[in-house]
C-alpha cells in the first residue's frame, strides 16, 4: 500500500480513531458533517497537531515521528493561508526557497500554466479573488512536490461556477503531478465528482468506505444539464 494511516486522539466530545489507506495517484475523499473530526485528521497526518497514537506509513516508511517539513505531505488549509507579505510568485517559489533547493523551472512553468496564474504572478495576495487565491494556494502546494496532498474543504466559500472550474483543476492533479490527494468535505456531490474512494466519517470513526462509479460521460451529462444555470450565475 502506498499510504496507510492509523491515528487516535481524544477530543472533547468523542474519540477520534481512524484508519485509512490510499493508492498512488488516488483521489480520496473523507466525507462527514462539521465537527466529525475531518480537519483534525488532516492536521494529525500533516504533523501539525499532536495525537495520542499515530502510525503513518508512506511508501513503507514510518513517518509518524517526523516533523511536518520532512513528511512529504502538504496540508492546504481552508483559508488558503497565502503569505500576505509576499506576492504570488514569491508564494509559489516558497517551497523551493524554504528547503534550500534549486527552483525546478519545468515544474514551476507547468504549475503556472495548469492553474492559469501567469497574469497574477506579480500581484500581492490580498488583491486576489477567492478562486484565484485558491488556485495559487494549490499551485504552491504542488511546488513542494508532495507525495500526499491534504485538502481541507478546498471548494468552500466559492461561487458555483468557480467551484466547477476548480473541480476541473483538482481532477488533473493526481495524474499530472504523481500526487495522491485526501480531500476533506461535507458535500457528497463534490466527493462523488472527484474521488476514486470515499471514506464516510461519523463522530471520529470511519462508518463506511465506498467507491463511486461516476464516469466522465455521466459527469458531462450532469454539467450540460445545469450549464444554462451556470452561465446565468456568471
Amino acid at each position: 500500500m502506498f499510504f496507510k494511516a492509523h491515528i487516535k486522539k481524544r477530543l472533547t466530545d468523542f474519540d477520534l480513531d481512524i484508519s485509512i489507506e490510499i493508492d498512488k495517484e488516488e483521489y480520496t475523499a473523507i466525507l462527514g458533517p462539521s465537527g466529525a473530526g475531518k480537519s483534525m485528521t488532516l492536521k494529525i497526518i500533516a504533523g501539525i497537531e499532536p495525537s495520542e497514537y499515530q502510525y503513518i506509513l508512506l511508501e513503507d516508511i514510518n513517518i509518524s515521528e517526523l516533523p511536518p517539513e520532512k513528511r512529504k505531505i502538504v496540508y492546504l488549509t481552508q483559508k488558503d493561508s497565502l503569505f500576505p507579505h509576499m506576492n504570488v510568485f514569491e508564494n509559489i517559489i516558497f517551497p523551493f526557497i524554504a528547503r534550500g533547493v534549486k527552483i525546478d523551472q519545468n515544474l514551476l512553468d507547468k504549475v503556472i500554466d495548469t492553474f492559469k496564474i501567469r497574469p497574477l504572478l506579480h500581484r500581492l495576495t490580498k488583491h486576489l479573488s477567492g478562486g484565484e487565491a485558491r488556485r495559487v494556494a494549490l499551485a504552491r502546494a504542488i511546488c513542494a512536490k508532495p507525495k500526499v496532498l491534504l485538502l481541507d474543504e478546498p471548494l468552500s466559500f466559492l461561487d458555483f461556477h468557480i467551484r466547477l472550474e476548480l473541480i476541473d483543476f483538482l481532477k488533473k492533479i493526481p495524474q499530472a503531478y504523481g500526487t495522491s490527494i485526501i480531500h476533506v468535505t461535507h458535500d457528497p456531490i463534490e466527493a462523488c465528482l472527484l474521488s476514486h474512494r470515499i471514506y464516510i466519517l461519523k463522530r471520529g470513526k470511519i462508518a463506511s468506505c465506498i467507491k463511486p462509479n461516476l464516469d466522465s460521460a455521466q459527469l458531462i451529462n450532469i454539467v450540460s444539464k445545469i450549464s444554462p444555470l451556470i452561465e446565468a450565475l456568471k
Binding site: K43, A46, G47, I48, P67, P68, E69, I73, V74, Y75, L76, T77, K79, S81, F83, P84, H85, N87, F94, P95, A98, R99, H122, R123, L124, H127, R140, A141, A144
Partner: protein
C-alpha cells in the same frame, strides 16, 4: 438625535484642542531670539545626546526582552499566564519617583553603580517604557494566524526558517510601533531619572533645572525647541512608514 451628535462633535473638538492648543500657544509665544541662544547652548545639546542615546538603548533592550515574552504569551499556554501578562503593566501603574527609589535600592544592594551614570538613565527609561514594547510584541504575535506558520512548515520550512521568514516580517510593524511608543515614553521620563541620575542631565531634567533656577523665561525656549524636535521626529517616522507602504504597493500591483 441631533443634540447627541452636537455633543459628540463638541467633545471631539475639545479633545483634540486640549492636545493642540497648549502646544501651539507655547510655540507662538516663544521669543524667536531665544531660539538662537538655545542653538549655541552646549549644555542643551549634551542633554539632547544623553536623552536620545538613553531612549534608543532602552527601547532596543526593551524589545529584546519583550519579543520572547510576547511570543510565549501569545502562543503558548502555561499556568498564571494572565497574571504574568498583567504584571507587564506594573511599570505604568507605579509612580515614577517610586520607580526611581525602588531601582536605586535594588541596584545599590546588588552592587551595580547606576547613580549619576548613563547606565542609570538607561535602566530608569527601560523600566518605565518596557510595558509598551511588551504589549506591542504580544499584539504582534497574536495578529499572525498560526495557520500561516503550519502552512510554511508543511511546505518544507523548518521551525526557525518559518519564524524568521514568515512570523517575524508579519510582526515587524508591531515591533516598530512598540519601538516608537517606548522611545517616546523613555524620552519624556523625568521622575525616575531625577532620583537615579540627575547627571548627566537629560532634556527633561535640564528643563526642570532651568525652571527651578531661572523660572519660566529660561525654561520656555528649551521646551519649545524640544517640542519642535519631537514633532519633527514623529512626522519623519510617519512619513517614512507611509512611503515604504506605498512603495511596496507600487512594486507589486499593476
Amino acid at each position: 438625535m441631533r443634540i447627541n451628535k452636537l455633543i459628540m462633535v463638541t467633545l471631539a473638538v475639545l479633545c483634540i484642542n486640549f492636545i493642540l492648543v497648549p502646544i501651539f500657544y507655547l510655540l507662538i509665544t516663544t521669543e524667536p531670539f531665544s531660539f538662537l541662544e538655545i542653538l549655541k547652548d552646549k549644555e542643551f545639546w549634551a542633554s539632547v545626546q544623553i536623552s536620545f542615546l538613553g531612549a534608543f538603548c532602552s527601547s532596543i533592550i526593551g524589545l529584546f526582552m519583550g519579543l520572547p515574552f510576547g511570543f510565549l504569551v501569545a502562543r503558548k499556554n502555561f499556568p498564571a499566564k494572565s497574571i504574568l501578562e498583567s504584571i507587564t503593566f506594573l511599570p505604568i501603574v507605579i509612580p515614577h519617583v517610586a520607580v526611581g527609589i525602588m531601582l536605586l535600592c535594588f541596584f545599590s544592594k546588588i552592587g551595580i553603580p547606576i547613580v549619576d551614570t548613563v547606565w542609570g538613565i538607561i535602566v530608569a527609561m527601560c523600566f518605565v517604557s518596557i510595558s509598551y514594547s511588551i504589549s506591542s510584541c504580544i499584539m504582534g504575535f497574536r495578529s499572525v494566524d498560526p495557520e500561516l506558520e503550519w502552512t510554511a512548515r508543511s511546505l518544507g520550512a523548518s521551525a526557525s526558517y518559518t519564524f524568521f521568514r514568515i512570523t517575524l516580517p508579519l510582526v515587524f510593524p508591531y515591533i516598530a510601533r512598540g519601538f516608537i511608543l517606548s522611545f517616546a515614553r523613555a524620552l519624556s521620563e523625568v521622575g525616575a531619572i531625577l532620583i537615579i541620575a540627575y547627571y548627566p542631565k537629560s532634556i527633561p531634567v535640564l528643563i526642570y533645572e532651568r525652571f527651578e533656577n531661572f523660572g519660566l523665561r529660561k525654561a520656555v525656549p528649551i521646551t519649545s525647541f524640544v517640542i519642535l524636535l519631537s514633532l519633527f521626529i514623529f512626522s519623519l517616522i510617519i512619513f517614512l512608514e507611509r512611503r515604504s507602504a506605498k512603495n511596496k504597493e507600487k512594486k507589486y500591483v499593476f
